[in-house]
């Protein structure tokens, strides 16, 4: 008896364009209630295109099936654990989606009169205040669209402050464990980047810092906890060193999930930081975005915040565009407002005590994983872990199996992989961040899977190297994709 399973039809969903057939429609427009207009007459004949060549022509049922079928090839938080390190893939409460879709919020135009936008403005004001309290900072801008833009915004502000003080300086110091956006953002702001090596315990080498910091240094960008999941224990000293030389301390707040209610950057010398609302504050990642990257700063930096600023004017909120030191705009309008709504909903749901509990559970989970996996995977830095833990594939590499292959095998066990090959200072990193929203049961299943894979690596490394086996798509050839890029569909010619 041979099964000869035939592939499910939805496993063969073609591209939209391959599904198109002339004359199929998925739309209907209302009858015009005004006279129709001849486009050529109105726009000039040579401004009018003939048709959108190749554009899809499908019916409604095909459209919904297309996207529904494709969706089943994905994995989301609502399927199970998604332990991508540095990404804080926590549960995204569905109530946040509901409130962000309220007509009055979702259909508010950015230029509608301020008097008729008080609801949206109040939401932003309240979120600013909450984030200031959580971070211990003095002022917050919600404008940046994501973490990286938050970094850029903050660096521009620091530059403006230093410039006002007389010298914008030349470089920014960045630990070698930092996320790639840190140096990339510094570069856009016109700074040279100087990497600093982490210490043996995986934290900032303050001795080195002390040696390096001089009048050319604008700021240090530090992630805390850093990307090894380790709290920067010398952060206060680092701040002192920088401040003594007139430099500033910037914190990448992507890992704020480890600190809420426990420690505040504003209390340990940070001058500016960004937050990732799409990490710590639960807004969904949507397959890559959108996010929001608010920047929180100390008083000194406040004059430089982007335009416009919310201000109280009598009993109403208004925008203040007259701020001569502002670095200007970093994007159109006021920010990813829909994301801000979600983040505030999350903060309201948790409240002060709840946010602390989020942090303590997140750290508990990471330490639980660490404890369970330490016997099987190499732990390059043994400092205490906060919200995530980073192993290396050193032991498995001896069998020729690398972190990226272990990651693929994890898919067969029903989990999304951890973050692979980051931070760069760990050779063959397995960066695991469970977040607080995983159950003990799920953590047990996950660690069981990791242990089982570690054993498979011993007994059958080749098998592991060719994983995954349980997915519609087997191992994807990424090298071929880059060698001869095919970046769009074209009709067969």
């Amino acid at each position: 008896m041979t099964p000869r399973v035939q592939p499910h039809i939805s496993l063969h969903e073609p591209l939209l364009f391959e599904r198109s057939s002339p004359g199929k429609l998925a739309y209907q427009l209302p009858e015009l209630d005004v006279p129709a207009v001849d486009p050529s007459a109105a726009l000039g004949a040579d401004n009018v295109r003939s048709e959108i060549e190749g554009f899809p022509e499908v019916s409604e049922v095909e459209a919904i099936r297309h996207y529904t079928r494709l969706s089943t090839w994905n994995y989301g938080i609502e399927y199970g654990m998604y332990p991508l390190g540095s990404c804080t893939m926590k549960y995204n409460p569905r109530v946040n989606e509901a409130v962000a879709r309220l007509d009055g919020l979702a259909w508010a135009h950015p230029y509608q009169p301020e008097a008729l936008a008080q609801g949206s403005m109040e939401i932003m004001a309240r979120l600013e205040a909450a984030l200031a309290e959580i971070t211990g900072m003095d002022a917050v801008t919600l404008q940046p669209a994501a973490g990286a833009q938050g970094e850029l915004t903050a660096i521009l502000m620091m530059r403006a402050l230093l410039k006002k003080r007389g010298n914008p300086r030349k470089k920014i110091l960045i630990p070698d464990s930092a996320h790639g956006t840190n140096p990339a953002s510094a570069a856009i702001a016109g700074y040279a980047v100087e990497n600093i090596k982490s210490s043996e315990t995986g934290v900032l080498d303050v001795e080195a810092l002390e040696r390096i910091v001089n009048e050319d240094v604008a700021a240090l960008m530090v992630t805390n906890p850093n990307t090894l999941g380790i709290f920067e224990e010398n952060i206060l000293r680092a701040a002192a060193i920088l401040h003594a030389k007139g430099a500033l301390l910037y914190m990448d707040g992507a890992n704020m999930n480890a600190l809420m209610g426990v420690a505040r950057p504003g209390d340990f010398g940070v001058d500016a930081l960004h937050l990732n609302l799409h990490k710590t504050f639960s807004t969904p990642h949507g397959g890559g975005g959108p996010g929001a990257g608010p920047v929180a700063v100390k008083k000194e930096l406040e004059p430089f915040l982007p335009l416009p600023r919310l201000k109280r004017s009598g009993k109403k909120w208004a925008y203040d565009y007259k701020r001569k030191y502002s670095v200007g705009r970093v994007r159109a309008f006021y920010g990813n407002s829909g994301v801000l709504v979600r983040a505030l909903a999350y903060i309201l749901a948790n409240g002060g005590p709840g946010l602390r509990r989020v942090t303590t559970d997140a750290v508990l989970n990471a330490n639980y994983i660490r404890k369970r996996l330490e016997p099987y995977y190499d732990l390059p830095y043994s400092s205490r872990s906060m919200h995530e833990v980073v192993f290396s594939d050193e032991r498995q590499a001896k069998q020729g199996v690398r972190t990226s292959e272990i990651a693929k095998r994890l898919i067969d066990y029903g989990f999304h992989p951890y973050t692979v090959s980051f931070p760069l200072i760990v050779h063959g990193a397995l960066m695991i961040e469970p977040t607080e929203t995983e159950t003990k049961h799920e953590l047990d299943r996950f660690t069981d899977a990791m242990i089982s894979i570690a054993k498979e690596v011993e007994t059958d490394p080749e098998m592991v190297k060719n994983a995954p086996y349980g997915t519609r798509t087997s191992r994807v050839d990424e090298v071929a994709a880059a060698r001869k890029p095919v970046l769009r569909w074209k009709p067969a010619s």
Partner: protein, 437 residues
């Protein structure tokens, strides 16, 4: 707390395994001085019901259901129900950037389709997976032109969205990338080709033109291309209203197209999240910022998709990357994709035709400021009244009028930018016209 899936006994068991007494022990290594000694000064968590009530109350403090004639970079178009149906699926909503191709083919294939449709719309060879919004897409396009040409100077038309130009200034400031502006022809509202020609030099990396421009007018893309290319500069064409591309000739002479897709089923949401995009010629792809999905095969030889050309990006190239962008606006790009799928080849054209017809109806009853050809937005003179007076009168009728232009163009203080779309009702347009009497 309902979002925390652990009972106390489970926490206890976990602490025991870890070998600590209490959860506080996990933080014991934090220096005493950094620890917060008090609870956060935020109220206790509230119920889901109260959250909904809170935001409902806020929503009613905004304008609700007012007909609105604002455009200027954010447009009211009907959003097909399918869009929300698709993006509400947890598989799309709650997944991360598709780094792990084998478990992310859904997202990857939709992005590949998105890239294709953007190319079909714009006449470009390649498009990225999205940028934050139109404004940052334009700024990044300028930086891309700088890289591609090895030159530094950028010339941008004053008829480009004022906030986009503001963002360009912010981004360019510290990059040795001087930005200069050139004006528009007072009569037509199109770019001043003479001024552009005069200001061009061999150090210019890019000329930036928007079409339809901020005044809603179909601008002189071809002529701008000619001038730019003659001096070896790239032409960047910006759009804020992609519905226009249902009808308008694609900006095929451009080297880079940077635009905003909010019109494609993305709710205005008080300014964001929207979705920017950059499209360009094949030859510039390695200078392009943002994510790209490419087609490839899996080990079984089946078609598959994955993120590609990552060596442009920050996580590989760090300070030498083409951009610092990491998180983008993927879910919004998916919304735009579903919108393009639903309207399709015929629908997008008919939609554009309806927008044109509505705008023509409204402008026909008013005094247009410019004689250039406009799509669904246009500038009108407010005659004896001020724009603010007219808007106030309209608000009394629960109609939101147009954008007074004095704020961005002092010379147009007597003018207002109005937008009509397929959602504008004739009766409301008549009311607007009346307010001008």
């Amino acid at each position: 707390m309902r979002y925390l899936p652990k009972s106390d006994s489970e926490r206890r068991a976990m602490l025991d395994l870890i070998g600590v007494e209490s959860v506080e022990d996990l933080f014991a290594h934090l220096p005493e001085e950094v620890r917060l000694k008090r609870p956060l000064d935020l109220p206790a968590g509230i119920s889901e019901y109260e959250i909904v009530e809170y935001f409902r109350a806020r929503a009613t403090e905004n304008a609700n259901g007012y007909p609105c004639f604002l455009g200027a970079g954010a447009y009211y178009h009907y959003r097909p129900v399918l869009v929300d149906t698709v993006v509400s699926r947890g598989e799309f909503l709650t997944s991360y950037t598709p780094y792990q191709a084998e478990i992310s083919q859904g997202t990857l294939m939709t992005i590949f389709e998105f890239q294709t449709m953007i190319c079909q719309l714009t006449g470009m060879d390649v498009a990225n997976a999205s940028m934050y919004d139109g404004s940052t897409a334009m700024a990044e396009a300028a930086m891309m032109a700088v890289r591609a040409t090895g030159r530094g100077r950028v010339l941008v038309a004053r008829s480009v969205h004022p906030e986009y130009r503001a963002v360009l200034r912010t981004y360019s400031e510290n990059q040795g990338m001087p930005v200069e502006e050139f004006g528009y022809v007072t009569a037509a509202g199109t770019i001043d080709l003479e001024e552009l020609d005069r200001k061009m030099d061999d150090l210019t990396a890019a000329v930036i033109v928007q079409s339809p421009n901020f005044f809603g007018i179909v601008d002189q893309v071809r002529a701008a291309a000619e001038i730019a290319h003659r001096r070896g500069a790239l032409l960047i064409v910006v759009f804020t209203e992609p519905v226009s591309l249902g009808l308008l000739r694609p900006p095929a002479e451009a080297d880079i197209v940077a635009g905003e897709l909010q019109s494609f089923a993305i709710s205005p949401s008080y300014g964001g999240p929207h979705a920017g995009v950059i499209a360009t010629r094949d030859k510039y792809v390695r200078q392009m910022p943002g994510r790209l999905v490419g087609q490839t095969v899996d080990t079984r030889g089946n078609r598959a998709f994955c993120l590609t050309l990552a060596t442009r990006e920050q996580h590989i190239r760090r300070e030498k990357a083409t951009s610092n962008i990491c998180t983008n606006q993927a879910l919004l790009a998916l919304m735009a994709s579903v919108f393009m799928t639903v309207y399709g080849k015929h629908g997008l054209r008919e939609l554009a035709e309806q927008n044109l017809a509505k705008a023509q109806y409204l402008v026909g009853r008013l005094r247009p400021r410019f004689c250039g050809k406009s799509f669904n937005e246009f500038v009108v003179l407010t005659e004896s009244k001020t724009p603010d007076d007219i808007n106030k009168a309209l608000l009394k009728k629960k109609i939101i009028g147009g954008l007074p232009l004095g704020r961005f163009y002092p010379e147009l203080a007597d003018s207002m930018l109005l937008c009509a779309t397929e959602m504008s009702r004739r009766a409301d347009m008549d009311a607007v016209a009346e307010a001008f009497q």
